[in-house]
Amino acid sequence: MKIILKLVFALLIVASGAFSGYVLSKYQQSVGNIPKTLEQDRPSIDDVKRLKPNKVEIVKHLENIRVTFLTKEPVKSYLVLNSASLPFEQVINHRKTVVVGVSSSLSLDHSVELNKDALSQMFGDRVYMYVLISYKGWIIPYGIKVDINKGPESPFMIKL
């Protein structure tokens, strides 16, 4: 009898904990002061490893530069282009940065052709590029050299 009472009481404690958590969250919402939410779906380091593009190839094709790469999961992808070899944090805010859509829908094979003349007019004879993977509303950048914890250390280089 005593053990049963103990178990019942323990269950009540757990239930009251869950109940108070639920009520607290609802109360915070009800008073109108919506607290800063956790960033939903922000990629984890495991996601960064898993979605890393492989077989990145940059080849000249007639008047264009073709950039291709593969991913293990179907994702959308972009390229970030700039004339300077800048860290990604600076590239994303740089006024001369150009973002090019590679795969506007979910895909495993990613390919885009860039106009060689337009690129040389814009960036000169060298273009630096980061590959961007879109994952649940977030952008994961990759360069030719990547520190998984700190981000891409150096971008890909396209010699026109």
């Binding site: 404690i13 239930a15 969250s25 984890s44 150009v98 506007s104 337009a118 509303g137 977030w138």
Partner: protein, 456 residues
């Protein structure tokens, strides 16, 4: 004991012929003491000698019929009672604790009493001249005296204090057992008690941990409406991609660059011409509470651009608190009453708008348009008070709409009313009652257990 008192043993009855009525079951033959009067003991094997002359005639008949089973020898041989514990009977004249026959009743002035006390057992033996020995048990005291006269406390001798006496559990927890050689060892009940206490502690620690986990899960569930392990990762500071950026930021950069230098854009289209078709359907309004509503709908935009900028606004104006696209929170910019955000084209996504409502206004018009105004559509919806049943009419308004196929709103809107009124009070009340009842049951069970221990 030298006494001729027989039968009832009335000290005042000199002829000793009183019928053995109430004292037939007494252990005190001849002498009737307090124990015999108030706590009589039976002697089942005793019989009555019906041939004895001691019994009156009327009792002889009863004895022959088997109604009386008291031994005549017990009644007639008071000498046997000399070894029995002496009893005390109140005498009117003496008021003494002695038992004496009327014949041997001494002069009270000549009675000499000898009292001795066993210091170990606390038994006081009181002996009167010609009376035998009377033992009076005195309660044990905490102090005793050794032979040197030094007062030694009971605690010093036995290591048990008054507090220990009061703590029955501590005494019960340690059971000492002596083997045949007289060696005293601690019993297994002490180890079992220790293990039980340890397991009890572990149990309650686990309960607390589970409670904390339940609190976190319930909080996140209540706040987000769903639970994801990823939330726990963030809470526990597990490694997440710190340098990853929100897609909305990226698209804003892109549009800025394309605007300034459209000639280098790989896509020849411009924002003014990029939206070909826009479909909004499956509207749903959820009243989060009386102040906030969540308006959600499926939106798809066909465009040459992978990402387009859309603007939404309400008439009358509503303040948009948060904006989600497929459960991802999206940053938006506010310009006047218009809220602009980036949206992926050619894919149907669920858009959720968390808006702060004005209770006095019952109907709103939601306007969704592509940037530049070339494609613009209207959706008129009626938003009732959260308390009442929703009656929403969704009517596409032509307005500046160039293409009638631009917006295809659904004709039905479902609304989940919030928990208001009684429900908002019932749930907390039920929770509190459950906790109180549980506490009461637990304490009541503890009291029952405590009572049983006292009984034992």
């Amino acid at each position: 004991m030298d006494t001729n008192n027989k039968g009832q043993g009335d000290l005042q009855n000199d002829n000793n012929q009183a019928p053995p009525t109430a004292d037939l079951n007494s252990t005190n033959q001849g002498n009737v003491g307090l124990e015999g009067l108030f706590n009589s003991k039976t002697q089942p094997n005793s019989t009555v000698d019906t041939n004895s002359d001691i019994l009156p005639e009327e009792f002889k008949d009863l004895a022959q019929d088997g109604f009386i089973e008291a031994s005549n020898s017990d009644l007639s041989n008071p000498a046997d009672s000399s070894d029995s514990s002496s009893t005390v009977k109140k005498d009117e004249e003496w008021s003494s604790n002695k038992e004496l026959s009327s014949e041997d009743r001494p002069d009270p002035d000549n009675v000499s009493n000898t009292t001795s006390k066993d210091s170990n057992t606390g038994i006081v033996k009181q002996q009167s001249e010609g009376e035998g020995t009377q033992e009076v048990r005195e309660p044990l005291q905490d102090t005793t005296q050794d032979r040197t006269g030094t007062e030694t406390s009971f605690e010093d001798l036995f290591g048990i204090s008054d507090e220990d006496d009061n703590n029955s559990e501590s005494l019960q927890a340690t059971t000492l057992k002596a083997d045949n050689n007289g060696n005293v060892s601690e019993g297994a009940s002490g180890i079992a008690g220790a293990i039980g206490a340890f397991l009890t502690g572990v149990f309650w620690i686990l309960v607390l941990l589970v409670t904390a986990l339940a609190f976190v899960i319930a909080y996140l569930y209540g706040y987000k409406g769903r639970f994801d392990v990823r939330y726990l990762k963030e809470l526990t500071q597990q490694k997440i991609c710190e340098y990853c950026v929100n897609e909305a930021k990226l698209t804003s950069i892109k549009s800025l660059v394309f605007k300034k230098e459209p000639e280098v854009s790989p896509s020849p289209t411009t924002l003014e011409e990029n939206i070909k078709k826009m479909v909004a359907e499956q509207f749903k309004v959820v009243c989060k509470d009386r102040a906030y509503w969540e308006i959600s709908f499926n939106l798809s935009v066909q465009s040459n651009e992978p990402i387009v900028d859309l603007s939404v606004n309400f008439e009358p104006a509503l303040e948009i608190q948060e904006l989600y696209v497929d459960s991802s929170k999206i940053d938006f910019s506010k310009k006047g009453e218009e809220y602009t955000f980036s949206f992926a084209s050619n894919v149907t996504k669920r858009v959720r708008l968390l808006v702060k409502v004005n209770k006095e206004i019952k109907k709103y018009t939601l306007k969704i348009k592509g940037k530049g105004g070339t494609k613009e559509s209207f959706m008129l919806a009626g938003f009732p008070d959260c308390k009442s049943e929703l009656t929403v009419s969704v009517n596409p308004t032509k307005g500046q709409q160039n293409d009638s196929d631009t917006l295809l709103p659904s004709n039905s809107v479902s609304v989940t009313p919030p928990r208001t009124g009684i429900a908002s009070f019932v749930l907390p009340a039920v929770g509190i009652i459950i906790v109180l009842v549980g506490t009461y049951l637990y304490l009541f069970g503890g009291l029952i257990n405590l009572g049983q221990r006292f009984k034992e």
